[in-house]
C-alpha cells in the first residue's frame, strides 16, 4: 500500500475548469472520502490519479514519486465503479481470478487460488464461487467487483460511488462491511461519493469538493462540528442545519425575521453574520427560553423532526423517539449556545477561540 499526494491538480475542459489547484494527502492505509455534489470534479480527480485522464497542471505523487510518466498499468491502482463490470458468463471464481491471470503477471494457478479464496472469505462470498455472476443479486455483484480489486493487492483503491446503485438496506450493510474490510486490510482508499452519510460513516478523513476546488479537509467530526463554510454546513447533516441571518446589537445576536436572540459570545463578531444551528441543538424543554408554534412533525422512528415556527422563521428540531406534541401546540425550547456555528457574510466560518 502507498500514500498518495495530489499537488495543485488543475484540469480544464472546453468552457469549464473541472479542477482548480486541488491538493490533498492520503496516508498509507487511510480511508479518504471525496464528497461533493454532481459536477464537483470528483470523478475527474479519480481518473487523473488512475492515469486515465491527463491533468493540465499539478502532479500526482505515490510514495514520493511523481506519476506523470507512469501508464495506468504502472500505477497499480484498482478501480471499483458504480456499474459492476463483471463478465456475466464467467463464474464468480473466474471473475475474481481474471485480473491475476493477465499474461503480464504469470501468476501460478495455485497462488491465484489462494488469493481468490482469501478475498472471497473477507467478502463473505465463499459460497458463491461457482455461481455465474449473471445470477447474483446487486449486492453480491458489487462484492465480487470489490473482490476483484482486493485480489490484486494494489497500491491504491479508487472507488467511484460503488454503492449508489444498491437499494437502501444493501447500501447500509455494505457500508459497514467495506469499512471493516478497509480497516482490517489497511488498504489506502480514495472513495468518491455525493452521499454525506457514506462520507461521515466510512471516512477517516473527508475532502469536500465544490466546483473543482477543495473547500475543507478533515475528520468526520471536524466536518460536522466545525464546517469551514455554509456550503459544508449544509452539505453534511440530515435534516439540514438551520441557517439564519443575524445582526449584532448591544452585545446580543438578533436572528432576522424571528423573535430569537442570543447573547453574543466573547469574541469580536461582525455586525451582520449568519448563524447555523444543527437540528439536534434546538432542544424542546419545558422551561425553554424561546417559544414557537409546532407546524409539522415528521416521525422517523428513532427520532422525530419538529418544525417550529418562531416569528417568520421555521426551525427544525430533532428529538429522540416519537413525540406526543401536536401540530398547533406551542413549544418552548432552548438553543445549545456552545454548539452554534457563526459564518461571515462571505459564508466562511468565524472561528471562536475557547
Amino acid at each position: 500500500m502507498s500514500n498518495v499526494e495530489l499537488r495543485g491538480l488543475t484540469k480544464h475542459f472546453p468552457g469549464v475548469t473541472a479542477l482548480n489547484e486541488v491538493s490533498f494527502y492520503i496516508s498509507n492505509g487511510e480511508f479518504f472520502v471525496l464528497l461533493g455534489p454532481t459536477g464537483a470534479g470528483k470523478t475527474t480527480t479519480l481518473r487523473i490519479i488512475a492515469g486515465l485522464e491527463k491533468q493540465d497542471a499539478g502532479s500526482v505523487i505515490f510514495d514520493g514519486q511523481p506519476m506523470e510518466s507512469a501508464t495506468p498499468a504502472d500505477r497499480d491502482i484498482a478501480f471499483v465503479f458504480q456499474q459492476y463490470s463483471l463478465y456475466p458468463t464467467m463464474s464468480v471464481y473466474d471473475n475474481l481470478a481474471f485480473p491475476l491471470r493477465s499474461p503480464l503477471r504469470r501468476m501460478p494457478e495455485a497462488e491465484i487460488k489462494t488469493r481468490v479464496e482469501a478475498a472471497a472469505e473477507i467478502l463473505r462470498i465463499g459460497h458463491l464461487l461457482t455461481r455465474k455472476t449473471a445470477r447474483l443479486s446487486g449486492g453480491e455483484m458489487q462484492r465480487v467487483s470489490i473482490g476483484r480489486a482486493i485480489v490484486r493487492n494494489p497500491r491504491v483503491f479508487l472507488m467511484d460511488e460503488p454503492l449508489s446503485n444498491l437499494d437502501a438496506k444493501l447500501r447500509e450493510s455494505l457500508r459497514v462491511e467495506l469499512k471493516h474490510i478497509q480497516k482490517t486490510q489497511d488498504s489506502t482508499t480514495l472513495f468518491v461519493t455525493h452521499d454525506q452519510i457514506e462520507a461521515l460513516t466510512m471516512a477517516d478523513r473527508i475532502g469536500i469538493l465544490r466546483e473543482g476546488r477543495i473547500v475543507q479537509v478533515g475528520t468526520p467530526q471536524d466536518i460536522y462540528d466545525r464546517p469551514a463554510t455554509t456550503f459544508v454546513a449544509q452539505l453534511v447533516g440530515t435534516p439540514r442545519i438551520n441557517l439564519f441571518e443575524a445582526n449584532l446589537e448591544d452585545g446580543a445576536l438578533y436572528l432576522k425575521n424571528s423573535n430569537l436572540h442570543l447573547p453574543a459570545s466573547g469574541v469580536s463578531m461582525p455586525a451582520s453574520l449568519l448563524v447555523g444551528i444543527r437540528p439536534e441543538d434546538v432542544r424542546p424543554e419545558a422551561q425553554g427560553k424561546f417559544v414557537g408554534k409546532l407546524t409539522l412533525t415528521e416521525p422517523l422512528g428513532v427520532e422525530t423532526i419538529l418544525h417550529i415556527e418562531s416569528g417568520g422563521q421555521t426551525l427544525l428540531s430533532l428529538v429522540p423517539g416519537m413525540t406526543s406534541v401536536r401540530v398547533g401546540d406551542d413549544v418552548r425550547f432552548n438553543l445549545a449556545q456552545e454548539k452554534l456555528h457563526y459564518f461571515g457574510l462571505d459564508r466562511k466560518r468565524i472561528h471562536i477561540q475557547s
Binding site: 437499494d167 437502501a168 438496506k169 447500509e172 450493510s173 457500508r175 459497514v176 469499512k179 471493516h180 480497516k183 482490517t184 452521499d195 452519510i197 461521515l200 460513516t201 466510512m202 468526520p220 467530526q221 460536522y224 453534511v236 447533516g237 440530515t238 435534516p239 439540514r240 444543527r278 437540528p279 439536534e280 407546524t295 409539522l296 415528521e298 416521525p299 422517523l300 422512528g301 428513532v302 423532526i305 418544525h307 430533532l318 429522540p320 423517539g321 416519537m322 401540530v327
Partner: protein, 360 residues
C-alpha cells in the same frame, strides 16, 4: 370528502398474484402509505383504486359507492405521478389552470382557485416561467398545484419524490405533509422508502410479495412489527434480529450470550428456537452489561454514532450511541437492552409474539 374501501381486492396476471386479496378501509382525510420493495404490489393496488388497472376480484368503494367498474374519470381522484408531465410550452400558471379550463370553469373561478393554491405552495414568483426553466423541486411544486387546484376528493400519489435528490426530497416531504394538514384530503401514497412512509403516513400498509404484511400507525410498525419482514424493512438500519433458544427464562444467543427474558415475556415465550428483536436505540453500552461482543465497525452519523457489534462470526448487531461512542475494530464491549424494547418472533412462522399485557 372521501372514504376508500377495498373489499377482498385482488389482481392476477395469468396465474400469478400481483396483489393477493386485501381488505383496507381508508377514512376521510386520512393519509395512508402503501410501502414495500419494488414488485410487492403497491403500485398495482394504487392503480386499481384509480381505475387505471382493472381488478381480478373484489370491490372498490368510494364514499360507499361501488366504483369497481367505473372509468377513472368518473372516480374524481387526482393522480400525482412520479414524473410529472407538465406541458413544456405552457407557463406554470397555464399548467396549473389547465384542469380547470378542461372542466370549463369560469375565468373568475379559475383565477381565484389558482391564486389560492399558488399562495399555499408559495410559488407566486414562478407563475410566468415555463417548466424547462424550473428546478426539479419547483416542477414538483407546480405539478402539485395542478393536482390541488381541482380540489379532488382524494389524492393518489405514486412515488412523487422518487426522482428528486435527497435534499429536495426532504423539503418536498415536509411540504406534502403540511398541505395534507391544511387540506385534509384523503391521500393514498405509494413509496418504497420507509423513512418517507413513517414520516408522512397516518397509517402504513406494509406490503411484500403481493401480500399485506401489516397495517398500522408509524408507531405500530416501528415498535411492534407484525413479522420479521416488517421488523427488517422499517428502520435504518432495521431491527436487530438474533436467533436464539429459550429455556427457563433465559434466551441463549450466539457468542455464548445469555439474555434473561424480561418479566412481561416470561409467560408468553414458547420454549425452543426464537428470534430476539431490538431496535439499535434499545441497546446501550454498559461495562457490566449482560450481553457481549466485539466491535466490527463503528461509525459517525453526525448527531449520533452507530456501533456494529459482532456476537460471533455471523451475527452483527447495531447499537446506537451518542456522538462520542467510537471504538476501534476488535474492542470487546458489553451491553444491555431496555427490557420494554425487546421483541420476540417465532422463527417458523416469522410472526411476532405478543407480550402478556398486549395480549390482554
Amino acid at each position: 370528502m372521501a372514504t376508500i374501501e377495498l373489499k377482498q381486492v385482488e389482481k392476477k396476471f395469468g396465474s400469478l398474484f400481483a396483489v393477493k386479496p386485501m381488505d383496507l378501509t381508508i377514512t376521510d382525510g386520512e393519509f395512508v402509505v402503501l410501502l414495500g420493495p419494488s414488485g410487492c404490489g403497491k403500485t398495482t393496488t394504487l392503480r386499481m383504486i384509480s381505475g387505471l388497472e382493472t381488478v381480478s376480484g373484489g370491490q372498490i368503494l368510494l364514499n360507499g359507492r361501488n366504483v369497481t367498474w367505473r372509468h377513472p374519470s368518473a372516480r374524481d381522484i387526482a393522480f400525482v405521478f412520479q414524473f410529472y408531465a407538465l406541458y413544456p410550452h405552457l407557463t406554470a400558471r397555464e399548467n396549473i389552470a389547465f384542469p380547470l379550463q378542461a372542466q370549463r370553469e369560469s375565468s373568475e373561478t379559475i383565477e381565484q382557485r389558482v391564486k389560492e393554491v399558488v399562495k399555499l405552495l408559495q410559488i407566486e414568483h414562478l407563475l410566468n416561467m415555463r417548466p424547462g426553466k424550473l428546478s426539479g423541486g419547483d416542477q414538483q411544486r407546480v405539478a402539485l398545484a395542478r393536482a390541488l387546484v381541482r380540489r379532488p376528493a382524494a389524492f393518489l400519489m405514486d412515488e412523487p419524490l422518487g426522482a428528486l435528490d435527497a435534499e429536495f426530497r426532504e423539503t418536498m416531504r415536509a411540504e406534502i405533509k403540511r398541505l395534507h394538514i391544511l387540506q385534509h384530503a384523503t391521500t393514498v401514497y405509494v413509496t418504497h422508502d420507509q423513512i418517507e412512509a413513517i414520516a408522512m403516513g397516518d397509517r402504513i400498509v406494509v406490503m411484500s410479495a403481493a401480500e399485506v404484511q401489516q397495517v398500522g400507525t408509524p408507531h405500530d410498525v416501528y415498535y411492534d412489527p407484525a413479522n420479521l419482514f416488517v421488523a427488517r424493512f422499517i428502520g435504518s438500519p432495521g431491527m436487530n434480529l438474533v436467533r436464539g433458544n429459550y429455556t427457563e427464562g433465559v434466551v441463549r444467543l450466539p457468542g455464548d450470550n445469555r439474555y434473561p427474558a424480561p418479566e412481561a415475556w416470561r409467560g408468553v415465550l414458547p420454549g425452543g428456537d426464537i428470534v430476539l428483536g431490538f431496535r439499535p436505540e434499545a441497546a446501550y453500552i454498559n461495562p457490566n452489561g449482560t450481553l457481549s461482543g466485539e466491535v466490527y465497525a463503528s461509525d459517525m452519523h453526525g448527531a449520533y454514532t452507530m456501533l456494529h457489534v459482532n456476537l460471533n462470526q455471523t451475527d452483527i448487531v447495531h447499537i446506537r450511541g451518542d456522538r462520542q461512542t467510537l471504538y476501534p475494530i476488535g474492542t470487546p464491549v458489553r451491553f444491555d437492552l431496555d427490557p420494554a424494547m425487546a421483541r420476540f418472533f417465532e422463527p417458523a412462522t416469522e410472526k411476532a409474539l405478543r407480550r402478556a399485557e398486549v395480549r390482554a
